[in-house]
Amino acid sequence: MQFEVLAKCHTTRARVSRMRLAHGVTMLPTFMPVATQAAIKGLTPQQVEALGVNLILNNTYHLNLRPGIEVLKEAGGAHKFQGWNHNLLTDSGGFQLVSLSKFTKITEEGALFASPFDGEPTMLTPEESISIQHAIGADIIMQLDDVVPSLTVGPRVEEAMWRTVRWLDRCINFHQKSGRDDVQNLFAIVQGGLEPDLRDKCLDEMITRKDRVAGYAIGGLSGGEEKDIFWRVIKQCADSLPEDRPRYSMGIGFAEDLLVCVALGVDMADCVFPTRTARFGVALTRNGPLNLRLGKHATDMRPIEEGCPCPTCSSGTTRALLNHTATLETAAAHAITQHNLVFQARVMGGAREAIMSGTFPQYLKDFFSNYFGDAGYPGWCVNALKSVGVDLLEGRPDTKVIPGDGAKWEYSDAA
């Protein structure tokens, strides 16, 4: 991997960088769409490329079940199998194991689980996870970590953190011996729950291994913790992590979360939210999400978002037609997915542009003003951005501040 920071925001911790991997260059900060089963919902790889996306995510747990490693190897790896010529990231499979399997037991050796095929006890070790990710062939691979739910407290959190450090060493050793470390890049995952001292210990350990990891992920978040705690953990990690390594915040996808993370120094994020919500008829816009199933859109002849360059808006698809087809025709899901992925890419592309031109604080202010407007700003965003020198409320004495998560959704199903 070649990683180069091109510009830094003069106020916040945000930065623009260029990351060259085996399948090309990706400009950071970026959002990575999720292709769990080796396809971005309903789209062809060419359609995804046309959106200006060149780094996507596959899930190791799922690809290992189907189509299976043997099929991927025969095809020459996951890139060739799914016809994707650009950069690809895989997770370790550990998170899904814990969240999707009822019987997973963590031991020092690895994660013990019941095989979904025959119910037989099966062990996923750190070495096995890396070996599977080698077969998949992603440009960025993740260490196996000991995942505990975000809200867990007590000694289990510390145990998991230390085990994650030990498993990182096993992943590094296996990866380096494999000879794949020149084409595939291993990322460490910082754990430690919501406890700052555990995060600090984990950061210390992992930073000492810097020469043997290509980048760092911040794990153990996005599991229902309070947002005011979430951003503090992100900030703590991003502040400590080395300048010359990309930082990846796992499972982040709401626009306001993305921008706060970028301001705190995060370079990459992934989430299923924009593609999943598209299937339910929800389109993301700079003025907030639109639930296209609502009757009020039935005769609206405007595109989802005026001026949006996505294939859906630029071809003149109206809200009225999407109202007619959403959740009933797969083509509606494709159309909204295309738009939503472009929306995410524009949020991040706009951030890159603003950081390059030294206007990122203003970009943040404009975004929040359009996105939340009179509905009020989420308090945690105000606090988080204040911590890096941006006062969203400056010159806006009338803006409401909403405690809690403060998301603004048009989610009612009333048609």
Binding site: Q46, E70, T312, A320, T330
Partner: protein
């Protein structure tokens, strides 16, 4: 301005009225500009809720097989006024639905001709149509006003086809004829000066009469009779007969097949599909016998009518049936819903007309042969057989990349130009910031990519990924369009005799029983059901609980 006729027969004239024929459909726009010429026999692409199933707009435009589009209006009846009637401009349907006015010709029908569900009876002045909010009654005057606002390239007059349980009495058939005649007269009638309704340009008529040859003849004869005096006002420029105002003839095969199988089931109780996931037409099968019966019925309709108008066939169920209708009738525009439906249930078509002389196509497994020695029409990609199959979708078509490689394979296979077999990288990509050009500097635009592998589509089908259907829909439409190109070539080159020979060869090569369809449908239903319960469904429940996070996208 004098516009050209909608349809022109090309090639050497036939001895009689029936037989394989080639022609050309010319669509002129209101201002006289020609926008589309189609050589016939040609493919008519089916739509659902106004869109080609599984295809986003960019993929519709990538699929060159799509020219003629069949647009059932009824799904838009769930709002009043229907949203299609609120669109401004000279080509409202193209504008709203994203079709290219210069490439796509839209045929508007009230009902979806492939939908054979039971419906409440029609009335003397309405047709019962179906939308998500239930049954809607559509009167001839409402239809006329919808058509006037939508300005389709072609429109089918309302027709009284009973979708009440068969059999239908003589009295019912007589009523059906009377109504259909009256409704045709109504749409042809020029509006009174105070009405803001214009007469539609190309009016097609469904030839009514059901499975009674006599009723069909009677309906057709009514079209050619001098117009009754009471119909005369407004039927101008003076039409001597209703047929003078008709641009072409439509045959809905779905109700005819349904009647055939209802007759058959009175002796042996073949069950109708009880599963709500299945379409009523899914279990319809053709055979040489059903084709003979169809040909007899279609002859009864066409005997009294002139030969030079296009004949449009809806819902044929197999290429065998299509070939026999081309051979014994001479049909011109043929709905591809069966091939599009095949994409729903995981089938990639792999057949050609004329039948390739060497069916053992190199480097891609050919479809399976059945006990009768005949080959399947394609591949059921749900089948475990394809788990490790890395070849392109169709053995009898080459993929674009191998065809263009420095050393092309030694066999002269035609190329499947669909986006699954001959994908190209996009011509351009959206740049989201001024530094983004650095990311794409090394990437070639519009470069041929390797074809989609069968094993990949197999995987997508089993993981319930929508991309599988998009890829199959593009491929199947392209394969079917290529089939029609082959039909035209054989007719143009060898006339009736050679065409007959080739049809025979096709019939002895490819399996018409379509056991493949039954198998694919069964596996498709299994995956659909597994999604409703079991492990996958538990996973989905868990994930619904957390809309975000590192959850996976199921």
């Amino acid at each position: 301005m004098a516009s050209r006729p909608l349809f022109t027969l090309t090639g050497s004239p036939l001895a009689g009225k029936y037989g394989p024929r080639t022609g050309r459909i010319d669509i002129d726009r209101q201002d006289g500009t020609s926008i589309l010429q189609t050589d016939t026999p040609a493919l008519l692409t089916a739509t659902s809720r106004g869109v080609v199933p599984h295809l986003s707009r960019d993929n519709v435009h990538l699929t060159k097989a799509i020219h003629h589009i069949q647009l059932p209006f009824e799904s838009f009846l769930d709002r009043n006024p229907p949203v299609l009637t609120l669109v401004e401009g000279t080509q409202p349907l193209h504008t709203f639905l994203g079709f290219d006015p210069n490439k796509h010709a839209i045929t508007l029908t009230l009902r979806d001709p492939s939908d054979g569900r039971k419906m409440p009876p029609n009335g003397n002045d309405f047709v019962s149509a179906h939308c998500t909010r239930g049954v809607r009654k559509v009167s001839p005057s409402a239809w006329k006003s919808y058509v006037s606002k939508c300005k389709p390239d072609l429109v089918v007059a309302l027709s009284d086809t009973p979708f009440t349980p068969a059999p239908h009495s003589q009295k019912r058939l007589t009523k059906s004829i009377e109504r259909s005649i009256a409704w045709l007269a109504d749409i042809l009638r020029v509006p009174l000066p105070d009405e803001a309704i214009t007469r539609p340009r190309n009016v097609l008529v469904h030839l009514a009469g059901g499975v009674e040859a006599e009723a069909r003849s009677e309906f057709a004869e009514r079209l050619t009779e001098p117009i009754e005096q009471r119909d005369a006002p407004g039927l101008s420029p003076p039409l001597n007969t209703l047929d003078d105002g008709v641009a072409g003839y439509v045959f809905d095969l779905q109700p005819l097949h349904a009647a055939f199988s209802a007759e058959a089931s009175r002796t042996n109780s073949s069950p109708s599909p009880a599963n709500e996931l299945l379409h009523s037409s899914d279990r319809q099968r053709s055979s040489p016998e059903t084709s003979i019966a169809l040909v007899e019925l279609l002859h009864a309709s066409l005997d009294p009518l002139p030969a030079d108008k296009p004949r449009i066939i809806n819902s044929p169920v197999s290429p065998h049936e299509i070939l026999r209708l081309v051979r014994d009738i001479g049909v011109d525009l043929i709905d591809g819903s069966w091939a599009q439906r095949a994409a729903d249930i995981g089938i990639a078509l792999d057949f050609r007309f004329p039948t390739p002389t060497d069916t053992s196509c190199a480097n891609a497994p050919v479809p399976r042969a059945r006990a009768n020695g005949k080959r399947d029409l394609g591949h059921n990609l749900f089948d475990a057989l394809y788990r490790h199959d890395r070849s392109r979708l169709a053995s009898c078509f080459l993929d674009g990349q191998s065809a263009s490689s420095a050393v092309p394979p030694p066999h002269g296979l035609p190329v499947c130009e669909c986006h699954a077999c001959s994908p190209r990288s996009p011509a351009s990509r959206i740049l989201h910031s001024s530094v983004d050009s650095q990311a794409w500097a090394d990437v070639r635009p519009y470069a041929l990519q390797p074809p989609v592998m069968r094993s990949y589509v197999h995987h997508l089908l089993h993981t319930h990924e929508m991309s599988s259907h998009a890829l199959l829909a593009m491929h199947n439409l392209t394969a079917l369009s290529r089939f029609f190109a082959g039909v035209r070539e054989v007719i143009a080159r060898g006339g009736q005799e050679e065409f007959e020979r080739e049809v025979e060869r096709f019939e002895t090569t490819y399996d018409e029983g379509m056991a493949l369809w039954d198998e694919a449908e069964r596996m498709w239903l299994e995956v659909e059901r597994a999604r409703g319960k079991g492990r996958l469904s538990r996973e989905r429940e868990k994930q619904a609980a957390s809309m975000i996070g590192t959850a996976v996208d199921l």
